[in-house]
Symmetry: D3
């Protein structure tokens, strides 16, 4: 049951959540879930090479563009709860104050599901993704613990964590745990991807990937209705009343 | 939805399905699934050490006891569709005729789910389990293929496969993929285990294991209602409309 | 230096070498290599589901179509040395006589490079591919050994082995070892793929995959000229005078 | 020969050494070893959820209870050399001064064996355990190095390191390296576990686990005398005059 | 305690046990163990390349030389119980009759320890080694089982298994489990290696390797007395009364 | 083509680059490459045990000796571009300023190839090596990014990274990716190793290792000309126009 589920999406940079989970986010929102997005950094240093090629680009101009792009994309996906931390990237540096801040976010959202960068493997090309992955996981453990006292919050219940597919999956030792059918929301994902104007090669890349993942999903489920899919790692095994 | 699901359980020896999946089988039957059991061998050579210690034991007497025990256990679990191949074990030797026979079983049952020995790892102590694991998997691929023509059958749709937990999980590189709550059917499992009279040490072992897996299930799901659980490997990722 | 290199490609089924290595084969032929193709089975049982849907299909009619398709594809890629073993598939059963036959093929071709199904991982969906992978490797070891006496042959020198990318790479634990730029021969690959008329979904699949692998190749090499690529596992490390 | 061996046990939180190594510690003390315990944190934030449910609990009251519990447990196990660092947990933050302090502890104890959290895998549920594991290992390397000059100490000889079994072994990629028979000291372990009054579910959990590990130990050694066991990872291979 | 231990060494080819375990075998014999050697094949096809280069070499002449060499080497190591099966190699083909024969060997020797080819990894260059590894392991399981009835034998107790180091360890995913100090018997090993006259490059290779393993053994044990060592994988964890 | 290639070698301590890559460095220089060496620390605390045994040794005296030794070795290898950071080791502590400094080094050298400590595995005995490995990798990603603005530098093109072989390869999960034939420069390597006078056991160790790696290189390439080799891990797959 998607309706009523609470989801927190933590994206290291301004476009990560769109490439890797845009279809799933739109699907959850459409299905009645309450989805919160936290973007740690606009990625002005590490993920904006195309913008820096523009004449007269500055840190501020790059950031402004990335901010507008991510807000436009989020709107297309239906996201209403958006938090932008605007940290520097490459590297993203985490300290104790940010840990407190993240614990507070998690406790405030009280998510059933957290979607963030993969924890099982290690993104071979992007140290920021690994940093955020460990950061979110560590803070989720603290958020769930009664003894971590924080004014105005209470401990969360153990939530489910899923990892984004990195850019080069095999080299990053990513292991598919869940395929989500995004056939119905792929149009939204495509539109959201197009907000990132300077990155047309990635739009093609993630379109093709959704098609390939759709093929994989059909093949291992036998369900021919799946046309496009997104793939996530399972940080924890499935637990419940049924074998899925 | 368990109701209406078709499940095929393939057990290398007479007691394997009870120790490793008895609670899940009972739960599926209770929930309205159609569960078929195939026992490849009574395990007279490899899994009846205690019976051989009885004065005057013969291959036939051991087999008779094991047969009665497994039928009694199956009845307690609610199983109505039981097939006993009565092959020799230690080793179980598979040939082309048995492959045909297995493909026919799979196509006749047309399962949504196959439960059998783990394919991801390799049981460090039991070569028969590995043999059956590969055998069932290979035949499932053939059963699903239109080009494998077999009188009176038609190709099955790709089903889901899950692997039994082996006796020593870490050494066998078993990786939990799904925990199934068996709190409601643990009583049946316990009663079924007690049918194997000569193996009281295993009854205690798998009781404790169900308790530990229940603890694990609670801890990683946050659901405090789980008291006993069984654990399976996922041969394939979860595919569908939701993150479980 | 591609010119003068001797390559043996061993394909379990009639189309495998096209999907997985068509661009590389064409590139090697174009560059002056001597490429030999061995197709073990037409894949009539396991890889011809679409053909079996045609009214009146028989084992012979399916095989005839597959044979014509693979010959047409091979011609487009420029292949002149083709051997078709026409074994049954699903399963492919190897015996001692076939081992002798394979050793003879290897010694006759005396390849510098063998391309075949991946040996490092294990194709999660296709037992035939694993069988052929082990078969070819085992025979390459025998072919290289002076003590394996075979009338009219002499022992080969240790050759290089590379593994095809399987359909679902991560689940099959495939690890990229080499990316080959196929920008110049992608047109040939596309034309060759189109010979397999009943499998249009795979044509799209492997087109997209070549595009994705091209992206990967650009990203990890910094060479922007790569548009399409194929990916292989390295059975052995690179050995030589330079770090590539 | 246990007699005369020097052992250092480093426990992230107040109860970890009891759950995971209590039987082995008691056995070593009984056998004449000199065992030193270092507890890094009382675990007031991360491992005292049950205590925080008590009316009027404060950081100080929780810590006081944990301190008394661990001292009582240590006494039951026979421990006489106990050092309590009382650091904050969740997270435990290590700095250069603490590294110096740990190097000094190691050099002062000069252990033949260090028991601490597993280094081979990574506890999937407890970042503190991973932090301590790396911390202890890193400091052991420094302690062993002549060039790390520290007033009043001298370099230690390379000692043996063994890792505690984490709570969920397979998910944490824990690999059993050594099973220690604790049949004779299980009573002490049980009594020590009962000191942690608020955690009765863990007492049952680690009782069952000791029983299961005893079963494993019997099965892979053939020695039927083992009733209860504890399991550790081997950070280093066994080195010596005999195959154990 | 080495004295009184019973050891079975199973060597795929005539020289494997010398290169990989010669020092350990000599040490065990010297220490009062009862060591039995079983050589499956003389390795005439796969491991005698140098002999085939001699003018007029025939299968018989090669085999005769290998036989004399292995008998001479065995004598130097002190081996008195030697069984030579003289099977063809490359490939070694195992059937049911050979399984019976091996079970009988194991039950007759009733070893505390079996040394054979590594089971954890997979020799990347030698399929025979993998075949023997699985063969010995499978038969050890059968030998230990009461229900495997065989005239004139009785079931063995679970023994310890250790794996030989393969030629290229990392590529074969070999993991060191035990280092045995062979300083005192390295002279015997060297003399035994020199019996294989045509393989001087391997004598140098395994001399250097023993030196490197000695360095490793010193480094991870802190015991400076170790000059030469042999390394084995542990098929099972260490089980007992002490952490080694 | 080695001629004209730009290579950056980053060595945690004063001798690491000699033991692990001395032959390759000399070969590249001889072949016309432009090789730059960066030594992070003289290793006075962690890798100078033998020097500390000398009467009256001080931090300064040890450092002076190590500095002279490394300069002498570098000269023998033909190195002309040497940068010595002289950081403390055991541990090496990296901060933001050092990251900037490293990014600047990388952009200034603009290497085609970076050789440094292995990133795929994790040196089981030397935390400094792991720290430097991650440090260099992280900075290479930043150096390559246009958005990381740094006065007087411009972004580098994605370079190739290769990892040094650690001291105990299997335990450190090192996987050979490339073997480089150093037959022609082994004499230089040997002479360079001898500059480290206090470490004669390592000179023998790395001489033997070069011999063993030469054996491996011959065996898996079939090229009998290779006498000595060095082995590296491939951080990235090979990308290009040919299968090496």
């Amino acid at each position: 049951m998607i309706a009523g589920k609470r989801m927190l999406v933590v994206s290291a940079h301004a476009a990560d959540y769109v490439w890797r989970a845009g279809g799933t986010i739109a699907k959850y929102i459409k299905g009645g879930a309450d989805v919160h997005l936290l973007v740690i950094s606009f990625g002005g240093r590490g993920e904006s090479n195309d913008l820096w090629k523009q004449e007269g680009a500055t840190a501020q101009s790059v950031k402004d563009i990335r901010k507008n792009e991510t807000l436009a994309a989020a709107e297309i996906l239906g996201l209403r709860h958006i938090e932008l931390w605007d940290l520097q990237d490459y590297p993203i540096v985490i300290d104790a104050a940010l840990e407190d801040r993240m614990v507070r976010v998690i406790r405030t959202v009280a998510p059933d599901i957290i979607l963030t960068h993969d924890r099982n493997g290690a993104d071979i090309l992007n140290p920021d993704h690994n940093e955020i992955s460990e950061f979110v996981f560590r803070c989720s453990v603290m958020a769930n613990s009664d003894g971590v006292r924080m004014e105005g919050t209470k401990a969360t219940k153990q939530m489910r964590l899923f990892g984004f597919e990195p850019h080069q999956t095999e080299l990053s030792r990513f292991m598919p745990g869940s395929f989500i059918d995004i056939t119905d929301t792929f149009g939204q994902k495509e539109a959201a991807m197009k907000c990132f104007k300077a990155q047309s090669h990635l739009i093609q890349y993630y379109t093709d990937r959704a098609f390939l993942r759709g093929n994989h999903a059909r093949r291992i489920s036998g369900n021919q209705a799946f046309k496009f899919a997104e793939c996530f790692s399972n940080v924890f095994p499935v637990v419940g009343e049924e074998l899925y």
